[in-house]
């Protein structure tokens, strides 16, 4: 009798164990689907109810052709659905023509003031980081809201990266093969994150893993991480990797720096304007002289200048791989105060049914940047 009961239990346990293994394998990617939000925690106080916002056309940093007009329309509709009043596209187009706006990647001081005069409280600036159609589609976006006025200020910044195979589920039923379906989900998550930040939710963080920590780091002994700083992030140097990788990693770093209340991150459009007006070409990264110049009150008044080099940014197909170094200069007393090197692959430390895999380069770059900036700022 006893024997027959235990035997039947064994027969039941085997398929159950198999089911658990299949579910674990299928759901392995689920932990990566969260949007790691970062933003100003006093956002609710700074956003007026019913205020008018502008949505700049999406800047394509994906190094591939993408249906930008369609994505613009989707984004516009998604924002409107969330009760955000947007400047009409015709008025925006006229404004951009009048201001001779060639860059969609940021706004300078003149444009920021002109937007305020137009009655626009802030502007949404979006970068399309990855766009890939096909069997395993991929899409990633980084979006920020910049306040208009005498000093354009980043109020909120966030990003989302999705791949069709991030959560394959049981027997591959969770695979997404349609890039438009994937994009709709990505936009929903991104804007939900904005809505959450608007209602005062604390920014979330991804679970930190040792493998995402910088491989080496240096911080100057006299640097006080708790003090208040104005930070300028200049585009990273692109060393032998895909187009726009330097801009993308720069945006990831802006996003992570924005988490810290004592760091005031300057709008990248302002930094771009300063680099252009000072005719600063930095083929080998900034010199101490350049950092000092950017620190000048009549240029940017930046206490810290963040720069770096990107050695790998792969995520358009196959396993993601990101490799970059980060350097932070003090503008007050020209010297290097931080240097680190972070690299990793999406399948690092993955041994069991894709558990722990980071499918998108966006997510991987975000985690590496979060770990590096966390080390620097805390």
């Amino acid at each position: 009798m006893i024997c027959s009961t235990s035997c039947s239990n064994r027969f039941l346990l085997l398929p159950l164990a198999l089911l658990v293994v299949l579910l674990l394998g299928g759901c392995a990617g689920l932990e990566h689907t969260t949007v790691s939000s970062s933003g100003n925690t006093d956002l609710p106080a700074r956003l007026e109810e019913g205020a008018l916002y502008a949505l700049l056309p999406i800047e394509n940093l994906s190094a591939s052709r993408a249906p930008l007009a369609e994505l613009d329309m989707q984004l516009r509709n998604a924002l409107k659905e969330r009760g955000i009043r947007l400047l009409e596209p015709e008025r925006l187009e006229t404004f951009m023509r009048e201001q001779r706006m060639r860059s969609r990647g940021g706004i300078n001081l003149t444009q920021s003031r002109a937007l305020r005069d137009l009655g626009v409280a802030g502007v949404f600036i979006t970068a399309l980081e990855t766009w890939r159609e096909g069997e395993v589609p991929r899409v990633s976006l980084i979006m920020r809201l910049v306040q208009s006025g005498d000093e354009p200020e980043i109020l909120w910044i966030d990003g989302v990266g999705r791949t069709g195979d991030e959560a394959p589920g049981l027997l591959g039923l969770g695979l997404v093969k349609d890039v438009r379906q994937l994009t709709a989900g990505a936009l929903e998550r991104l804007l939900d994150s904005f809505v959450a930040a608007r209602s005062g939710a604390e920014p979330g963080t991804a679970a930190q893993k040792k493998r995402h920590q910088p491989k080496y780091r240096y911080r100057a002994a006299d640097f006080d991480p708790a003090a208040e700083y104005r930070v300028a992030v200049i585009p990273f140097l692109n060393v032998d990797t895909r187009e726009h990788a330097g801009r993308i990693v720069g945006l990831h770093v802006v996003r992570q720096l924005q988490r810290y209340g004592n760091l005031k991150v300057l709008e990248p459009g302002l930094v771009r304007e300063a680099l252009l007006s000072q005719r600063m070409i930095m083929q080998e990264g900034p010199s101490l002289e350049a950092a000092e110049l950017l620190a000048a009150a009549d240029v940017l008044g930046a206490d810290l200048v963040v720069s770096g080099r990107v050695f790998a940014y792969e995520g358009d197909a196959g396993e993601s791989k990101v490799d970059f170094s980060l350097q932070i200069f003090s503008g007050i007393e020209p010297q290097v105060i931080w240097t680190s090197h972070s690299y990793g692959g999406g399948d690092d430390g993955v041994y069991f049914f894709d558990r722990g895999r980071v499918p998108s380069a966006h997510e991987l770059a975000g985690r590496l940047a979060e770990a590096a900036i966390g080390d620097f700022a805390q």
Partner: protein, 158 residues
Amino acid sequence: MDFSAVRSVAVLPFHDLVGDTRAADRVRDTYMGMLLATRAVYVLPSGEVNRGIARASIRNPQQPTTDEIVKLKKELGVDAVITGVLREYGKVRSGSAEANMISLSLQMSETQTGSTIWSGSSTKGGISLADRMLGTGGRPMNDVTVQVINDLLDQLFE
């Protein structure tokens, strides 16, 4: 040797013998970061070094002459410069096995007279017995780079 007088160094672009100009950039960047992380010396950022090279009108910064090294002291105010030669960087194959390998040699010259005060070299990576038996493909290039640089830093400070 007593390096206590050397408080700041400039790492010049490495001479590349492997035909991949970016490889030398990668290795130099890692070396500069790791040397700075030792806190033993202050390492000038590469943009600053580039500015000094341009101002001193050094035609071949990978292999500067003694006079040019002395000129760099004037421009950059460093106590020493480090030059390097990247001799190997890439995959090596033997039969069906392959692995990453790096070979790097470095020289440190003081900027008062331009004379060489230290030199070292290291080679890491390559195909191990485990790579042959298991076909693992060896360590990632970044890890091998860190191994080589750690070895060179040990040689410098021992």
